[in-house]
Symmetry: D2
Subunit: 390 residues, 4 copies
């Protein structure tokens, strides 16, 4: 955004995505556009696809759309299902609800298991629901790995086991938008049929790319879909990608950025990246505990590595706090979405991040609580630092 | 693309889009990502939308998708039509054919008037077709303003008159992807219901944004569509845009670039921009004539301002010429697409361009013809320079 | 530096200069080089000079050299003095000593008043020294405003008064390298004859520009200098600058950056910029006190706004601490220079900086002290946050 | 420069330096500043120095100053000579005259052999002058390799032979500012004692770095110099550089750019780079001949690879032509300097350049001649293209 007035220092973009884009990626994206039908382009396509697949832990194709992540939900459903098909989904939060809404708009029938927004998906429920579907009317199980609105992870591996335990043939589709390159994720090992993700979170890019990692089973199933669509078609993508091209103009400069982002992940090491996210999430929770505030997530096995949703004490508005912090400390925190609007704020600790940026972030929250008069104990930052310095 | 080897000097990206992105825009796009739900974002949204509408010459909304231009075709059709609806379209070239294909994939019935790829749409044919549809079964007329694959314009104003002359109620949808900010275009005056465009042509941006300028009639019609879709929904876009936001994460950094591109168009003046394109197109045709080569466009009233498609002499392959020019002169020319693959090459003179860049471009073509042994007369560049120096 | 391995997150460059360069300035510097003898160049020169003079609070010329700040010392001396001339200088720290060394290399005789590196210049000493020079053999008084190596300011206004009190004719030369745009500085009001400064501190630029703000008296004096030099000549600079040009190729892209930096200072307001620096310096000292560590500066009226030099407890090496912090927390702190090497580390809080960056910086120091086993009390960050949140 | 109004397309910066800086270098320069005293910095210093020495074809040190190229002249003289020393120099053009002026300002006695600005240095004259100095009073021979103001090269190898033929002990200093990485240059083989160069020509960088490649003999001699100076001291540079550091803050971001520029030269291959310059110079001369204009250079063995100085027909002003071309075609040509002001314009074909950029450049000149009414034959561009297409 053309700056109309200088706010000193760097903005702290601590929403749970888009994450802070490293300058190195912004510089890579500033390279000149080239001919996407030219003889050099396939090198870029193939290089990016190979490195990207490694992040999904898959040997199967990853389709790259010039689109926001939301498009990845739609493409997963349109390619594999047909209007009237039934899918099983779980109300883990705002984004699970939005994906459900997309499914309904596409003419699918959604069995939407209600949730309290404070837990991930219970794999026993998955098993029970599928067990009650002996004829296989449920064509797909939809799960959000990291629910960005709540900072809660669902156990993808356990859901896979639940599906397998009843030998149910449904496709398994996972939203890994906020977990990819933040939490452990294994497309192939967990036999996920479609993994949906996007550029602006753990991949450290600006928004504008959506991904579908697809399984052979998903591809096979896609051949029978009767849904009417064009932009999202896997078949044309797969055919063109095999030669290093795209069926329509790709997001060239975001691909440059993706190429560089994947280099950076490889330099740090994917395991190190994930361990770093886990450590920062833990430090954040330590601060939240020290402040005497409540984490929206009730199950300690389901903490997200990417974001922590903090509940406001009764009578205090999260958005007022966020605005004060924005104006006074040049930091953006995530708003409460949907059912938790105003009662929750979210701290993003995702993407290109380090200990001192986290310390600055938590300092901004602690000072903000103080300035906004939100009841809390001091010492959250201090407690986090003690953890980080170990 | 991470450069693996330096080719000296700037690449000449003389395909008919993506066009050469000015450094000033690339720098604007390198600004840090901000919170698209934050308090400052609406200023950017509103500023961009206001300036963008002026380029479409409309006072109606222009919807901005994080998508390739192809998505703009799909959104135009999905929002306004329902599966089984009939549309009238014209085979003016490769992109008209692709748009027809999209329509068919979406379940529409397309009355596709055949063409020879050397003429624009004949408005008399439009009139005749609509006259033969007294019950208004044709729900939409689809026209490509500048057919990028042939360098041929269709007369949008004349088509509008043809529609009106028979009082036909069909929606009028125009692909202005390669004409916006290159040729005279008037969304409101010509009563276009949906204008489809994209970022990577006259708007001088990298690919990644698709546009739909929409009329009240189109919006009204959209309320009755039964097509199943979500990403492309105008209703949610319009509601959110009114407040300066988007229903899902927008392409933040491309919006920065768009903001700057629109400033640049305004600094030069839209009329001057279009006159510049017309002048460069004319100079290019003068060179082509001097070379003794044939323009694919047969009707001099239908020359495009953006691109010139040049026919190869019999027995010579356009792609061999293009590859030689790419390797020897670091210039990308447009390939012949579809029916004209190999028999045509295209010179893009579109976007951020000036006389000396055009002189370099035409020089590369003339030298390439010589190196590739393509029969031609020398002096094309010379003739163009004489025109440009007038 | 081409990154060979990605360290996650942003580097904290908390040395007392070069300071963290805002991306906005780096982008401005990436604009194409233009002809420095072309018709547009004078606009840039004049715009920059006018805004730059306002930062020095002068209506007299400010000369801009393509050089490191060190060159500004040399140019001040060479232009105004002649070999064998006597100057009065004060050992306030490492940079005062270096400037003295430069003077000696240039053939000047330096009366260098010893100091303990823990105090600024005592104006009473200035008076005494000048009073003992009734024949005006001292041709110039040299003072460093902010001694970067110690974080200690000298009272420039008081020194001016001391000079005036004895009616001594010596030129008054001030090094404001680390104070300009950080501390209150008034070239005209304090009747400074030459103010030396540089780009990479409060002006937020990369290194590469040196400045001499000059008085009429200095210019007059320069006409009589017999020193042999060429690059640094004011006369050719002043003549060329008046027309918007330079006697040799200027540092074009750093001038672009300077133009933008000055815009940013104006947007924030110079007084606000200085108040911000003062506030961050105070917060830093509060943290240092809370840690139980000693500030090198003994006089609370002489604290620098730009940097705080912290003394290590006996038996602990500052450079070991700095290296641990660099490796573990991706932060660079300033080393102890000269006499205080190893016994002092310096925290830079200078340039484009904000509360959360400072909180991150202090957090890195506090964690580093802990990791390095340096005896200290916890709670420095906490104390600083309480101050900042007031 | 902040653009106040958009001129479409890229500016053609066809002065003989600064040359067009490739975007890749501008992006490299936009990396964050790092601590020049930090543990990582020596890697950058050593990497750059090693690659830079290869361009000078030397195994001896190359000193890098944060300064304009002019500073490199001064440093060469100050380090090796003492006031009153005699040097031999040759009036080959404006820059040779400026270097002579610098020498005089530094207190040297210059034996300045007059010239007509249309020839390089005659090695027979060198021999004669030195032969007439049996006592070795001449301490240094100064030669400009490519005289930027005239586009004329002097034969450095022949001058070396002339010096050797009379066994004269003078140091040999060469200005290779406009020849380095453009023409064949061999610091070691030609036993040059100091080669002066700068960043903004064949090295494709913005201005701001000056170089001195030095011989052992020059270093030895420098120990006896009595000149008074500090900034330019080789001794401190050499001592610090050996450890990867600099005696004062270096031009960090220009060093990033230099690192990248040297990578680019290596990717293309230095011999290829020089051959490319030779070819473009030849094509330019072919165009000038075809126009019927006269090259300032009278000796065909002395044509510069970097720039061509074109004489105006009597009664026509070069600066009027240049201004017309600037305003109409967005191209900067070099002005006539000193004695040839107004009667000569210069075409720079230097740095990051390719055939189509040259074609655009020559087209701009040819059209400009036509618009300005300068008598000439058409067909210069055409003739150049025929040569380039061979």
């Amino acid at each position: 955004m053309t700056e109309s007035k200088h706010s000193p220092g760097r903005h702290f973009l601590q929403i749970p995505g888009p994450s802070n884009v490293p300058d190195r990626i912004l510089r890579a994206m500033a390279a000149p556009v080239v001919d996407h039908r030219g003889p050099e382009f396939p090198k870029l396509t193939h290089r990016v696809q190979e490195k990207l697949a490694a992040v999904f832990k898959t040997s199967q194709p990853v389709i790259i759309y010039p689109a926001s992540g939301t498009g990845g939900w739609e493409s997963a459903l349109l390619n594999t299902l047909s209007p009237g098909d039934k899918v099983l989904a779980f109300e883990t939060g705002h984004f699970a609800t939005l994906w459900k809404n997309v499914a309904e708009k596409l003419g699918l029938e959604v069995d939407f298991v209600p949730g309290d927004w404070r837990h991930g998906i219970d794999s026993k429920t998955v098993r029970k629901e599928l067990d009650a579907d002996p004829n296989g009317e449920i064509k797909a199980v939809l799960a959000v790995h990291t629910e960005t609105s709540t900072g809660i992870n669902s156990g993808i591996s356990a859901i896979r086991e639940a599906i397998d335990s009843v030998l149910h043939p449904a496709l398994f589709m996972v939203d890994a938008v906020s977990s990819l390159a933040c939490s452990d994720y294994r497309h192939d090992e967990w036999k996920v049929d479609v993994t949906v993700s996007a550029s602006q979170k753990g991949l450290m890019l600006p928004p504008g790319l959506a991904f579908n990692a697809v399984s052979d089973k998903a591809i096979e199933t896609s051949k029978k879909s009767t849904a009417k669509h064009s932009y999202w078609r896997w078949d044309e993508m797969l055919t063109n990608n095999a030669r290093g091209y795209f069926p329509y103009t790709p997001g060239t400069n975001l691909l440059y950025g993706l190429d560089e982002a994947l280099n950076m992940l490889n330099e740090e090491g994917l395991d190190n990246v994930i361990a770093r996210h886990a450590r920062h999430a833990q430090a954040t929770r330590i601060a939240v505990d020290a402040w005497g505030l409540e984490n929206l997530c009730l199950n300690e096995n389901e903490y997200s590595n990417s974001t922590t949703a903090v509940m406001m004490p009764d009578g205090f508005d999260a958005d007022e706090l966020r605005l004060k912090i924005f104006e006074r400390f040049n930091m953006s925190l995530g708003m409460g979405l949907g059912k938790v609007k105003g009662s929750v704020f979210r701290i993003g600790h995702i993407g290109d991040f380090n200990d001192l940026m986290l310390a600055g972030t938590l300092s901004g929250v602690e000072m903000g609580l103080s300035i906004a008069g939100v009841p809390h104990n001091k010492g959250g930052v201090q407690a986090a630092l003690e953890y980080l310095a170990k």
